[in-house]
Point group: C2
Chain length 333, copies 2
């Protein structure tokens, strides 16, 4: 391949064809420069970066459109939990080959999400790799100066709150890997599909950002498993917590699997890929937070209480017995 002006290199024409249409922000210069401009406009710029790797965060036969959505949404989820409004992202795409049959649906879905979440592509780098596909995204958001919601602000007495339902993505991954969940749901393809969709395409809670800024003492997104991520939030805040397992929000599919004994709650609270918001809300703020979440059409559930102390968060069943968790979350190493 050559790089002649009248016959641009494969890399340049790939970028022009698939990704230039996504670069709608003037600071992206239509991807024609080496860098982009991000204007802060008196806000703080929140920066987050998350990568997904084939065979680790998504499966080799996952459809390219769901891979694109997951790559962007795991970052949007971080911005949501920090109370930030998305403002753009840069993309690093490591590909074995530049196949139109993969790139076209990937770029189309990425563009649809960029548009839906008002988070345009600002720039990126496309590189060849002999190994697994990898998509690394750095996303930017804005918060009023000094207002980013930290992990470290939880205070004893706060309610522990999560959005959506917990554990579905871990169940979906089990379905894709033909594990116990797939067996238990053998006659229920709709339930299987619902869980797989939760694994492949997270639903970031950006609609909650303003309510989190206004009411939360601390927040993070649940990406590696509720139990482990709660432990991180508690450690950062210098507090402990007690979680009532009976109050955890389960999807209909998860409730069914729990009722028939096919899975145990431990799997649901230690599985990754939820991309829900975990936050702590002072009791007197809870009615207002819940009302604003309702207006944003996001279900939020109080699942426990922040306690003083430095011990690991405890998960307690309906009889008041503590559940010992062997594994709190996913760790890469």
């Amino acid at each position: 391949m050559t790089g002649r002006q009248d016959n641009p290199s494969g890399e340049d024409s790939l970028i022009a064809r698939y990704f230039r249409p996504l670069a709608t922000d003037p600071g992206a210069f239509a991807l024609s420069d080496d860098a982009a401009i991000l204007r802060a406009d008196d806000a703080d710029i929140v920066v987050t970066t998350d990568a997904i790797v084939e065979g680790v965060h998504f499966l080799p036969d996952d459809p390219p459109d769901t891979i694109a959505r997951k790559a962007l949404r795991v970052n949007l989820s971080d911005l949501a939990a920090k109370g930030a409004v998305p403002s753009g992202f840069v993309l690093t795409l490591a590909l074995r080959q530049a196949a139109a049959s993969w790139l076209e649906p990937f770029a189309r879905a990425l563009g649809e999400d960029a548009s839906a979440f008002a988070c345009p592509l600002l720039g990126g780098d496309t590189v060849a790799t002999p190994g697994p596909l990898m998509i690394s995204i750095t996303a930017f958001g804005r918060v009023p100066a000094g207002r980013m919601v930290r992990r470290s602000g939880a205070r004893p007495g706060d309610l522990v709150v999560v959005s959506g339902t917990i554990g579905d993505a871990a169940l979906g991954l089990d379905v894709l890997k033909r594990g116990a969940v797939a067996a238990a749901l053998a006659g229920n393809p709709a339930a299987q599909a619902a869980l797989v969709a939760r694994y492949r395409v997270p639903q970031p809670r950006n609609a909650l950002a303003a309510a989190l800024r206004d009411h939360a003492d601390a927040a993070m997104d649940v990406s590696d498993g509720l139990a482990g991520d709660l432990a991180k939030l508690c450690a950062a805040s210098g507090v402990s917590a007690r979680i009532d397992l009976g109050s955890l929000p389960w999807s209909a599919e998860a409730a069914l699997l729990l009722a028939c004994g096919a899975v145990r709650p431990e799997l649901l609270v230690s599985g990754g890929d939820d991309y829900e918001v975990l936050c702590t809300i002072p009791g007197q703020q809870w009615p207002a937070f819940a009302a604003e979440a309702g207006q944003a059409r996001v279900v939020v559930t109080a699942i426990g209480t922040v306690l003083a102390g430095a011990s690991a968060p405890r998960f307690v069943d309906a009889q008041g017995h503590e559940i010992a968790l062997q594994r709190l979350s996913y760790s890469h190493f």
Copy 2:
């Protein structure tokens, strides 16, 4: 591995041990949160992202310290060419395993460069991969509002200028691959080492940033080969150019190899990994630019002239004959 609070996960302890010391900016929150804060302070924030992949941008047996420096410096080089002052970076590190023998020198060298270039680590993501090592960095810099140096500002009559010397990294890669250059320099290990160092550890020209802002009409860094990158700059600016091959700045090693016929100039102007600045300077600004570059201890050389027109840039030898280049630059696809 577990994620218990008193026994943090491998991933968390890896980050704490190797990378927290690099997170010296208050906006990095000591890597204890999900996101970092970037404050613009009335400047424009310049964003650039570049990834390097094992087997593509560096070799499997390259030392970890040089891999770290290259990963950061290819991004610093983009900031330099845009006239921006580095302000920080986020790191995505895809590793097969978390070996201290690799991570320790990698993180130490990264920290040394982050300190030397005043570009602290703001955040990142560390993921497992079954494939090649990959390091993706998104770097941030500041320019006074509206002052980023674009690719698209070149005007007919401008001088075409490059920093440093051209082609050495391509020669260094050939040495590492035991090609013709290695054979020609078989008795000269010092020359081999100098060229290999140019491939492994670029010297980004951040010292030129202010002079570029003040004097350049257009600039970019040379990463994929001078000929191809000049073609991109000309295309973005809607101009052409004539380059005098005889005026190109060669290192002593490159000059030796050219003199003995071991390599042809085409290799040097189409090889990648130079990470020098390519810019266009109005003639009346050239004395001031050259003087400021001298104060910054960066050699700059005028190698040709920007011309009106849309044809591809021409490379002309001492006899006025155009050299036809079969390959202008490196393309991943």
